[in-house]
């Protein structure tokens, strides 16, 4: 009997929770929330934080080789912002009851996921342009929407981050615009980066919603406000014209403006590739995990020393 009463009680709470979300209430850490809401958010937010941190690696790869001092400074500042985003989202995620160190351990062990896009290599300088423009561009589409999500700490984190993402997006586009105005080799470098990064960028929005197991709940709870396909379309619509403006060709024969839908039609995404990459078989999955693990273990003695020093100070 007891159990049944409790279940009823819980579902009454949950109904009230769902209703308040429908009315546009913002959920704060102290508010009651269904366990599943908390878990899904924690999963999304920690994945997001991990993506910021792992995302530093492919771009960091070009800091020592940036071709001018101005570009070097911009790139360092950009990657530094991503570290800040990671910190900021980790601490927003901590409000859901898990320590940053535990989240980091999940990343290092390979248990937690991060954005599939960072498992591709940055092979030329143009890739740095493509990441800023396409990857940060896709992130903006995602994060602008997340800024209106139902969980207060996450939505505020997104608001703050979006401002910086716009700068990231612009500097990436500018890198490619310069290349497209440059020598024959520079133009080829830019188009090659476009060819390699376009499709993985579209995959960043995740599988079609019918293949996305958590979508329905997340939409109901306003953790997501639009479907993956909606957001992908939004990204394509705003990006194609930017590509054309600097003379880059989108590597999709089926890409075509549809007067009726007022959107671009586009070709089939290679989901086989996507699932391979998120399951650990992309070109850089192992490298990225190794880089994060190396940084962590190389820094172990430093963290231990800082802790020991702080404890000695406390004792005195």
């Amino acid at each position: 009997m007891d159990v049944k009463v409790k279940t009823d009680d819980l579902s009454a709470k949950e109904t009230a929770f769902n209703d308040s979300i429908k009315d546009g209430k913002v959920i704060e850490p102290k508010d009651w929330m269904p366990e599943k809401y908390r878990k899904q958010l924690l999963r999304m937010m920690s994945q997001h934080a991990h993506s910021e941190v792992v995302g530093m690696l492919p771009e960091g790869n070009w800091i020592t080789r940036a071709p001018s001092l101005a570009r070097k400074a911009i790139l360092i500042a950009k990657v530094q912002d991503e570290a800040g985003h990671g910190l900021y989202i980790y601490s927003a995620a901590e409000t859901l009851g898990m320590d940053r160190s535990e989240m980091v351990d999940q990343l290092l062990s390979g248990k937690a996921k991060y954005s599939s896009i960072f498992n591709y290599p940055t092979l030329t300088w143009a890739d740095i342009g493509a990441i800023g423009w396409l990857v940060d561009g896709a992130a903006i589409v995602n994060q602008t929407v997340l800024a209106k999500c139902s969980y207060g700490p996450y939505s505020r984190a997104m608001l703050r981050i979006c401002r910086e993402e716009n700068f990231h997006n612009k500097q990436g586009y500018q890198i490619l615009a310069f290349l497209m105005r440059g020598t024959k080799e520079q133009k080829e470098m830019a188009q090659d980066a476009m060819n390699r990064w376009w499709w993985p960028s579209l995959m960043m929005f995740g599988p079609s919603d019918k293949d996305s197991p958590n979508s329905a709940d997340l939409l109901k709870w306003k953790v997501k406000l639009y479907t993956n396909d909606d957001l992908r379309q939004r990204f394509i619509d705003r990006t194609v014209e930017q590509a054309e403006a600097i003379g880059l060709k989108v590597p999709d024969d089926k890409l075509k403006w549809n007067e009726e839908t007022r959107h671009y039609d586009f070709g089939e995404i290679n989901w086989e590739e996507f699932f391979q990459v998120i399951n650990g078989n992309g070109p850089c999955n192992k490298l990225r995990l190794k880089q994060r693990n190396d940084a962590h273990s190389n820094g172990q003695w430093v963290r231990e020393a800082a802790k020991a020093y702080a404890e000695k100070r406390k004792a005195n």
């Binding site: 960091g60 800091i63 020592t64 001092l69 440059g182 940084a295 820094g299 430093v302 231990e304 020093y309």
Partner: protein
Amino acid sequence: MTELNTALIEYCLRIADNSLIHAQRIADWTGHGPILEEDIAMSNVSLDLIGQARGFYTYASQLEGNGKSEDFYAFHRGERDFRNRLMVEQPDLKDFGFTMMKLFLNGCFDYLFFRDLMKSNDETISGLAAKSIKEVTYHVRHAGDWVVRLGDGTEESHQRIQKSLNELWPFTNELFEQNEVDELLIQNGAAFNKKELKAEWEAMVNEIITKATLKIPSDSTYFYSGGINGVHSEHLGFLLAEMQYLPRMYPDAIW
């Protein structure tokens, strides 16, 4: 071009090269730091140093008056042209303590150096020094805090940071090295005698080293030198090869 002008250009390049090569080493940490907060701090330091380099390169190019850009100095000069001190070009090999010790020893000197240089009768130089000293003050504090934490942290960290100090110490004499370029600028009131900074630098360094329970090595018989004449360690060539490859490979390209 007057002799004084040539000396000023040389002087600016020394400062700029030193900051740039140091920045290049520290920037290599981006994404690989021991904690995320330190990644951010090290990015800040390398951005400051790049800013200093750009300021002094730009002034050098104005003095030369031949339209060379900051990027010319950074990307189109060779191993024998660079005037940085040998300490900053030493590879960090992802040893955080080594990086912090280097930043500390170098930073203490730069602090005193820029403090004097703020009184230079060359207004551009004194202005650049005034901007730089604020940044260097932060670098010294940040790196000094780490030297103390690591020195007085665990047994392992104590040994490791002591080893870094031992390795870097023979590079410290070069901080005070000067030649006829300095002499000319000192006579003209544009620069100051670096040798006079030594006692103060030692006091600054000693304070933190003592606090960190570390020991200054007493058996350093050899001291490195050569940066002001462009005679470097073997490491610089590799650093430049990596840093300069794109502008060298595509000399006509604009980025």
